[in-house]
């Protein structure tokens, strides 16, 4: 599991005006690793995730992607091609069909041939079980289906790592499973993932490491076995008592 470091974070700080959200996080994520990022709301876990693909610009510290310092890089768009992201609110493009959502970036950014992109898109759609929805607009999909399309869309760019920002939090309970199942099948392909989630059982089951954030700090960085059976800090103990 512990291959090369794909993401390194050094003393990461992020402030919004006077609000100091991330207070010096240092860690790294290895190739092929699945990291679940958990913690109480307001602890900065989403901000941390969004810093990794520079949707939030760090106000201090450094982020390395494949050994390259990207914290203040100019060609952000180039880096982001290699870092997929799946959002809580799906953020599918409503004016494009499902297949167009998936093929848009490969065609426009990677300059892949249209027909080839479509074929690959259909394969991805089949992977998430939605091949028959290719020509439908997102407004016709359920929340779970939207999120599966969003996952396929991010996969279409063949990223090296995918960031999930609370991918099931906006879903009705009966749709959570279909999305988690897709994520599980992804994990089996060996792709690197960082997942901000409230699904403790899922985190426990699939992740290689747990990041527990509290008050903008990385309070715990442990294997799920250790974290869930013997959390080190009090805050994590309290948190787990409430969650489980």
């Amino acid at each position: 599991m512990t291959g090369d470091r794909i993401i390194q974070v050094e003393d990461l700080n992020k402030s919004f005006g006077k609000l100091h959200v991330l207070k010096g996080i240092t860690t790294n994520i290895h190739k092929g690793e699945v990291v679940a990022i958990i913690g109480p709301s307001g602890c900065g876990k989403s901000t941390f995730l969004r810093c990794l693909n520079l949707l939030e610009e760090p106000t201090g510290g450094r982020i390395y992607f494949n050994g390259k310092d990207i914290s203040h890089i100019k060609e952000v768009a180039k880096i982001r091609q290699h870092i997929g992201m799946v959002f809580q609110q799906f953020n599918l493009f409503p004016h494009k069909t499902v297949l167009e959502n998936i093929t848009y970036a490969p065609i426009k950014i990677k300059k892949i041939d249209k027909n080839e992109a479509k074929e690959k898109g259909l394969v991805l759609l089949a992977k998430v079980g939605l091949q028959e929805k290719a020509d439908v607009y997102p407004s016709r999909l359920s929340g779970g289906q939207k999120q599966r399309v969003a996952i396929a869309r991010s996969l279409a760019m063949e990223p090296e790592v995918i960031l999930f920002d609370e991918p099931t939090s906006a879903l009705d309970p009966e749709m959570v499973k279909e999305v988690l199942d897709v994520m599980k099948s992804l994990i089996s392909t060996g792709i690197t993932m960082a997942i901000v989630t409230h699904e403790m059982n899922f985190a426990r089951e699939v992740s290689d490491r747990i990041f527990f954030l509290d008050g903008g700090k990385l309070a715990e960085d442990a294997t799920p076995e250790n974290f869930f059976s013997q959390p080190q800090c009090d805050r994590a103990k309290q948190f787990l008592e409430k969650m489980l």
């Binding site: 992201m85 799906f90 493009f93 004016h95 970036a105 969003a150 869309r153 991010s154 960031l163």
Partner: protein
């Protein structure tokens, strides 16, 4: 009262011939005004101070000065400075486009800001650069929301183009005035011109409603 529409009956085709001219001014100005408006609106939301100030000042000036003054300035004033004589079409389209851009830039700016933040973030996270996602992802959604306002602006433009009759361009209004001058009748040809403008505007409105419905088909 002295009304006699029968005397202008034969002149209707002549007045109708002004329609292509009016539409030509309108169409060109709508297109150029829109494109320039997009650029100005991007300046306004760019977060780059000089661009923002420029666009603000631009809008403020065109809002604050009568359109006919601007038109005269371009048509009569610029040749004095540059020696280049604009045709009525050039002067008209330039003035109306510049003016329209000032107004639609505000509309487009509001439309862009109203598009959900997540759309931008989704595009960014796919590695799509700024201008590309603005054009492909944000603008189409913004346009859908501001379509009614844009149609309004086009209607205003269509009516504003009547100002080119002061430059001698033979649009609908000018044609009506010529008929009036020939027959020493004013009320009837002007009413006819008014009806033509009205029908054009109504047609545009219906067309826009249909377009809006079509664009909302996927909601």
């Amino acid at each position: 009262m002295n009304l006699d529409f029968s005397r202008v009956w034969g002149s209707i085709p002549f007045i109708l011939q002004g329609i292509p001219t009016t539409l030509q001014y309108t169409l060109l100005s709508v297109v150029f005004g829109f494109l320039l408006g997009v650029i100005l609106s991007l300046c306004k939301i760019s977060g780059i101070k000089p661009l923002d100030y420029f666009a603000q000042a631009y809008t403020s000036i065109f809002r604050g000065v009568p359109l006919i003054l601007m038109l005269s300035l371009v048509y009569f004033g610029i040749p004095q400075l540059t020696g280049y004589n604009f045709s009525a079409l050039e002067a008209g389209v330039i003035t109306f486009s510049l003016n329209s851009a000032a107004y639609v830039s505000e509309t487009i700016r509001a439309g862009i800001l109203a598009v959900d933040r997540g759309q931008r973030e989704a595009a960014m996270s796919l590695g799509v650069p700024y201008l590309l996602y603005m054009w492909d992802i944000i603008l189409p959604q913004a346009l859908k929301n501001i379509l009614p306002a844009l149609v309004n602006e086009s209607i205003n433009l269509l009516k504003d183009t009547a100002l080119v009759s002061t430059l001698g361009a033979q649009d609908i209004l000018r044609s009506a005035q010529i008929v009036g001058a020939e027959k020493y009748l004013y009320f009837e040809p002007l009413i006819l011109a008014g009806v033509i403008y009205y029908v054009l505007v109504i047609t545009l409105t219906f067309g826009a409603t249909a377009l809006e419905k079509w664009m909302r088909r996927i909601d």
